[in-house]
Symmetry: C2
Subunit: 199 residues, 2 copies
């Protein structure tokens, strides 16, 4: 079976097209930013947020090492809670995908974790910025202190989204030894969603 | 996002190869039996169980209508709880996939439903009959009376499977208006599973 990250990448690979706009709300070490940049190509643009300067620097290094053209990404050292203020207005309602990879920065300070007080408003804002048919992915890590609570806050929020406008699915491992990550996928309805959209 | 049935079909399509053996433990109207027969081709064989004569007849008609050669399927009018007695011995440890689509027969008698007392032993037996790397899928329908309880019994059982031998994932819709189906996928470890198998 696919791991949580492999599952996210499979969904993004199916969905993103060259020239799309995408958001990595938790740039971290830059792996998802780079993955998104590869999928949307030189005519696309990925916006990468991280509140930690070390994460923005690591992401920039990774993108440069892989030769991603500078015009294809825009890195913002700020909380993703500020994304509605920091994203350029012309991206409003045009994001094809947004990715939130919660928890702490791998290899970084484990006391700096995402928290529902900022994650939830950021997810709400990112949903507004999605285009019709756009996809928001949240990788939930229930394993660290506070992680299970944050996962539950987001699961409850997503479960309450009206099914005419949103389809929400969860993919998770049930029998891992330790609390494994899970993936929430939230898709925005589009005119092509058709009559089978609402379950 | 994929519906539960589309998700199952995507997993089976990735996994099954021509010549494989497969089990449809709940043949119903035969759609999954036919789907499995298509994937494994003329050198494969699909075993189809259903406790209702009408379901076995409908499945046989569907396979004949699509021209599936008779040697490619073996339909058994019996409870899937009897599968260890009714499957040919040479299939033991050789099933590449097993599918359980729970609930009642669509278009049939809604009082005839699968029940955990028979479903759980049947799932246990089918897991034994899987080959290494084989995949068992259970589509859970929590919407009808008794459905939520059956779903929980199977989820609890699958959650307790040892992670060295089994990987168990769940895929479900979180925000449907009515209780939507969910999919449990249980994969048996194989020598190729590698060191990343156990999460």
């Amino acid at each position: 079976m696919l791991s949580a990250v492999e599952y996210c990448h499979a969904l993004l690979r199916e969905r993103l097209l060259p020239g799309d706009l995408a958001l990595d709300a938790t740039a971290g070490n830059g792996h998802d930013t780079h993955f998104l940049a590869q999928l949307i190509g030189p005519d696309g643009k990925v916006f990468g947020f991280d509140v930690q300067a070390a994460a923005i620097a690591a992401t920039r290094r990774l993108l440069q090492r892989w030769g991603v053209p500078e015009g294809c990404y825009h890195l913002i050292e700020d909380s993703h809670a500020a994304l509605a203020e920091r994203l350029p207005e012309q991206a409003q309602g045009r994001l094809a995908a947004a990715v939130f990879n919660l928890g702490y920065l791998p290899g970084g300070d484990k006391s700096v974790i995402t928290r529902p007080e900022t994650t939830l408003p950021a997810v709400r804002a990112a949903l507004e910025w999605l285009r019709p048919g756009g996809l928001l992915l949240v990788v939930l890590y229930p394993g660290h202190p506070g992680g299970a609570e944050e996962a539950q806050v987001l699961r409850d929020f997503a479960s309450g989204l009206p099914s005419r406008q949103w389809q929400v699915t969860e993919y998770r491992t049930l029998n891992a030894r330790q609390a494994p990550p899970a993936v929430l996928a939230i898709e925005k309805a589009s005119p092509e969603s058709g009559p089978d959209w609402e379950i």
